[in-house]
Every structure is written in C-alpha cells, then in structure tokens.
C-alpha cells in the first residue's frame, strides 16, 4: 500500500532519524543520485507515513515559525521496509532520454552526431570521477561489513562507477562507428 517514495523515506529514516528538511537534503545530494524528491512531496508523505504508524515524529527545538520534528522508524515501519526489500521491486516506467537520442543519431549530420555523443561522454566521465572519489572515501574508512549502512553506500556507489564505465564504453563504441 505504501508508495515508492514512502519506502525511499523509510529506507533513509532506517539509517538515521531525520527531519523533513534533512530528508529533502538527502534527496538532493547523496541519495538524490538514485532517488530524487522535493520537499513539497516529502512533507505530505511523512504525514501519511506517520498516520500509517510506520514512523513517529518527535518535536524538537528548531528555527522557524512551525514546529520542527525529527522522525524515526517504528517496528511496523521496519517490517514494511523489510517486506519490500525481500521481493525485488517491479521496475517502474522506462523513460531513457539518452537512449532515445542515440536511437535517433542517424537523423543528424555526422559532425553533430559526434558532438552529441561526445557531450554525453563528457557528462558520464564527470559522473565517474564523482562516484570514484566518493567510493575511495568510503573504502578509506575501512571495508564495511554487510550489516552496516556503509555497506549500502558502498554498494550504491559501486553501481554508479560500473554504470558510468559502461556508459563511457557505449559512447566510445558509438564514436568509433561514427568516425570509422
């Protein structure tokens, strides 16, 4: 019954009790690399999760006109998250703009096609340096064991590295053909 956004929030709160603001930050920078959401979507969803008894918010001292709340996972929330993780999620709708553009490369003059692929390559190369740096940061703190959140971080960022490498290899393959 819980939405994917709800489960994403449970996954974050499971790691660390957090305010809506902190969760919104996470869904921009670290977790946002693979699951993004805005605060306007997060706050109502947190209210729903609390109504469903999956999280509880405790009021804390904070800045601003409205009360600040820090949420933590309940036992029911932990069950819900584990149930979702136990079965592989059905992949949602696919809307891959990059593949759509590569699918249409034949429609461009040769030089512009090369320019398009090169700029995608640049983007992936940048992403790779970001992921690789993040990854060596994690590894430098010691190899995480599979029952700690840091293992999830390492797994996610490793996927980012492997994916970016594959994307770059793809661009190189296409460039070879276009120049060849």
């Amino acid at each position: 019954v819980t939405s994917t956004l709800g489960l994403a929030l449970l996954a974050l709160v499971a790691r660390q009790a957090a305010t809506g603001y902190e969760l919104a930050r996470s869904m921009e920078r670290p977790a946002g690399f693979f699951y993004a959401a805005r605060h306007s979507q997060i706050y109502p969803e947190l209210a729903r999760l609390q109504d469903a008894g999956l999280i509880v918010g405790e009021e804390i001292a904070g800045a601003g006109p409205r009360p600040t709340r820090r949420y933590r996972l309940t036992d029911a929330g932990a069950d819900e998250l584990r149930r979702w993780l136990a079965t592989p999620a059905a992949g949602g709708p696919v809307r891959d703009v990059k593949t759509l553009q590569f699918y249409s490369l034949w429609f461009l003059p040769r030089d512009e096609a090369i320019g398009l692929v090169e700029s995608w390559r640049r983007r992936h190369a940048e992403a790779l340096t970001v992921y690789a740096a993040e990854r060596s940061g994690i590894v430098a703190d010691g190899d995480p064991t599979p029952d700690t959140p840091r293992f999830g971080n390492l797994a996610a960022v490793t996927g980012g590295v492997l994916g970016a490498q594959a994307d770059i290899a793809w661009c190189d393959w296409v460039l070879d053909r276009l120049r060849g």
Copy 2:
C-alpha cells in the same frame, strides 16, 4: 516547447509514418525498452503535435468506429527534432528503485539480501539474452551505416547489452561481498 514524449513521437515518426496505434505498439515492444508510453497519452499528444504543425495526419481506410490516421513528419517537425538532438538533453528526475534497494541491503538478514540480489541478477541476465539476440539479428542483416535508422537500432541495443553486462557485474560484485 515540445514535451519529451512529443520528441519521442517525432523520433519514431521520422523513421516511418505511423498511426497512433502503431506508435503505441512501438512504445510497448521495441522502443518501449527505453521509452514507454500508453495510447491514452499518445493520442492527445499527436493532436498537439499536429496543431503545432510538426506532423500531419492523413486519413486512411481502417477498422473501427473512428477515422484512422497515419502521421508523417513535416519540415518543421524535422527541424524541431534536429534542434533537440543537437544539444544533449537535461537528464530528468532519477528514481532508481534497484539502487535504492541495494542501498538498503544492510537492513536485511544475509540470506534474504543474497536472494534479492540474485533475483535482480536473473532479471538482468534475461534482459541481456533478449538484447544480445536482437543485436545479432541486426548485425546479421549487414553492418548499418550511421545515416540509416538501423544504425540507431544497433546503437540502442548495444547500449542495452553493455548496460545489462554492467548490471550483472554489479550484482556479482555485491554477491561476492555478501557471501564473503
């Protein structure tokens, strides 16, 4: 001004004039692997594209209570598509359920974590056989030159193969860690 769905439809119509029904089919099976949409979204968008002068529909004989129309690209539509392809599209929102689950692997007992990753691995292996089969089918018809739609097909499916291989390698890396 045109939506991404609109550009996806232009990209398909650029290859081959098509009815809304045929476009909806494409967005299930071949093109649907990287850009999916339903007929309920496609028909109104086709009307909008025609209003904007990017495609024109010609009534043809066909089954059904309403007139059947086959759409083809106009010169303005070709310009619009080329303009979009010339600059690399801004990546839309990221909502990667698989990475979210891997990020949360630490939260599961070891055996269930292994089960989850194995089932993702199975899914990617299936995808790989589909892409690989599709790819050898294209290559068997002769190497396409970069100015033919078949080159786009080959580029897209090559990306599918490389991506699936990277996904499998990722799963294997995680499984290695989980099994110790």
